[in-house]
């Protein structure tokens, strides 16, 4: 039978109130008594029943999600997952507030973080912009003792408790290995298509990709990245230009959210031989392109997993509990046409 506070009280020869004060680090217990209670806790192997405690406290976890306003499918999906989490709030004892901030602007993010630091949130998750002022704001959140998780995009050298997102350097490296292996002995140029290299995840993916290309596939020339701002029309124009300029392109790595511009180009005037195309983010579009052979592989991060993981971690941190590390590692999903969900 699991020991309860009553068992501890009996074992230590004190009342429930005293046990409660020791457990919750409240004042009003003499040193000697405190030690006796702590010994009883240790020797009985007591662990707090979080469900009962939450019931007694009528606890809800007020969490804040700071999300960039961004039209790309991934961010829309992320937002949808947060909304599903909100729909589950009733049964999960959470209350999730979403703060919208303009994408890529650190000022608004800083303001949102400072609002959180001043409030009574039990935790905050945010898509980081990797800038010094954001780092400082994160420091203030941490100083306020509020658990903090970065989502999708990490904040380097910051006191965040956890990062719920993929390793983007590894993702880039993986894309490069797939690209190189799929091309085999073919010769030609590779063009990376990014949203903006000001975004940390895009830069990291490109770095990882470039490194492996240089190291393992030196016979393939890596062109400078095309920055399409994840804007379908701009991407369409830029990619069209590049393909005309370099008829010997044999590989395309779309590491951002520019698929809506890229795919029409590929389908409109198919190159011959077809280039190897690797994209990020599984959507209806990319999934269809995978099936019909327009593209070869999709790397994906599961927004639902990221959101649920962020909430689990925030809860655990708020309760001072450990997290199951293996469970919270967000994996890089690799989809070929054969293992689509």
């Amino acid at each position: 039978m699991k020991p309860t506070v009553h068992d501890i009280a009996r074992s230590a020869g004190v009342s429930l109130a005293t046990v409660d004060r020791v457990l919750n680090a409240r004042p009003g217990v003499r040193e000697g008594t405190r030690v006796r209670v702590e010994e009883a806790i240790a020797s009985l192997g007591y662990v707090r029943d979080v469900a009962a405690a939450n019931l007694a406290k009528s606890r809800v976890y007020p969490f804040v999600f700071i999300l960039p306003v961004n039209e790309n499918p991934f961010m829309l999906g992320l937002r949808r997952e947060v909304e599903e989490a909100i729909a589950r709030s009733g049964t999960e004892r959470t209350r999730i507030e979403v703060i919208d901030v303009p994408a890529l602007e650190s000022a608004a993010l800083v303001a949102a973080l400072d609002k959180v630091a001043a409030g009574d949130a039990a935790g905050v998750a945010f898509v980081a912009v990797d800038a010094p002022d954001v780092r400082e704001a994160a420091g203030r959140v941490a100083a306020a003792g509020i658990p903090m998780v970065t989502l999708v995009s990490d904040l380097s050298q910051s006191p965040r408790d956890h990062y719920a997102g993929i390793d983007n350097i590894a993702a880039g490296r993986t894309a490069a290995t797939l690209m190189g292996r799929f091309l085999g002995s073919r010769q030609g140029k590779i063009v990376p298509l990014a949203g903006s290299l000001m975004v940390r995840d895009h830069r990291e993916r490109l770095d990882g990709f470039a490194e492996v290309m240089r190291q393992n596939f030196p016979h393939l020339a890596l062109l400078p990245a095309v920055e399409g701002r994840d804007d379908p029309e701009l991407v369409e124009t830029l990619i069209g230009d590049v393909l005309r300029q370099h008829p010997d392109i044999c590989g395309i790595y779309s590491l951002g959210a520019g698929n809506r511009g890229l795919l029409p180009v590929l389908e409109a005037k198919p190159l011959s031989p077809a280039p190897v195309v690797i994209l990020h983010e599984l959507t209806g579009l990319s999934s269809a392109a995978l099936v019909d052979g327009t593209i070869d592989a999709v790397l994906n991060q599961d927004a639902g997993h990221e959101v649920r993981s962020a909430i689990r971690v925030l809860k655990a941190k708020a309760d001072g509990l450990p997290v199951i590390a293996a469970q919270e590692r967000i994996r890089i999903d690799i989809f070929l046409k054969d293992n689509l969900p």
Copy 2:
């Protein structure tokens, strides 16, 4: 504020006991009263507080895991994950009993399932052997109203509530696509290495693999599968023989747990040109082989995810709650040397 049973009682003009009887489908409520209460429940949007209910019931979920006694790394890992779940039992309100059965023998599995059907378990998870007698035993478990999840290996046409494992046909197809693409224009033979084709997962992986090879890579000849019974020494002998017999082997797909026999062969006398090697199951061995280039890709299923998912699903079924489908889908992890955990 979330409505409680008190709100329902007040709204329907009845007592708590009546609400309780309606909620828990107990007898002793007049039809008209029952309808009034149900209307109140619906109109207030009441959802039972599972935590409070479990507290009141002092509920523990007695689950049974039926695991095959098997020395291979994957099964050992699965067992370890079940043990970690047992270690968390205290905080998760579970009590997990493990029943060991000899691997691949349906009789012992049937006996274990019948024991479960006769007992008071709140759910059972088992690694299925796909045989008619097992299917019948599963029927008896279902008839006893006990939630049932197949783990790692599914049972076709059975009344299991859920399958916590990967789509093995898709895994085989994925391996074939990787194999074919990695080989590019190379010609030669491909040899599949299985544990036993009596096991459903192995058979399915091979089927998926063979189909894609035949369809998309007809220039590569698929040799008959080598059945190594996941026995390192046997595998070493058999693979050695096959490689001698067919000097033009350019691809090896190890779809079972024979890696401990295969890898030494590959490392001892490296073929030239090196064959493309794709394995299942990420272990210390396969991970190292990936890093040093002996092998090219590893397909993996995460045993920890499978066990945790099985428990979540069993709990949900026991409580009559819905499951988050996307969360419970076990994915086929593809590891290259670049995205190792």
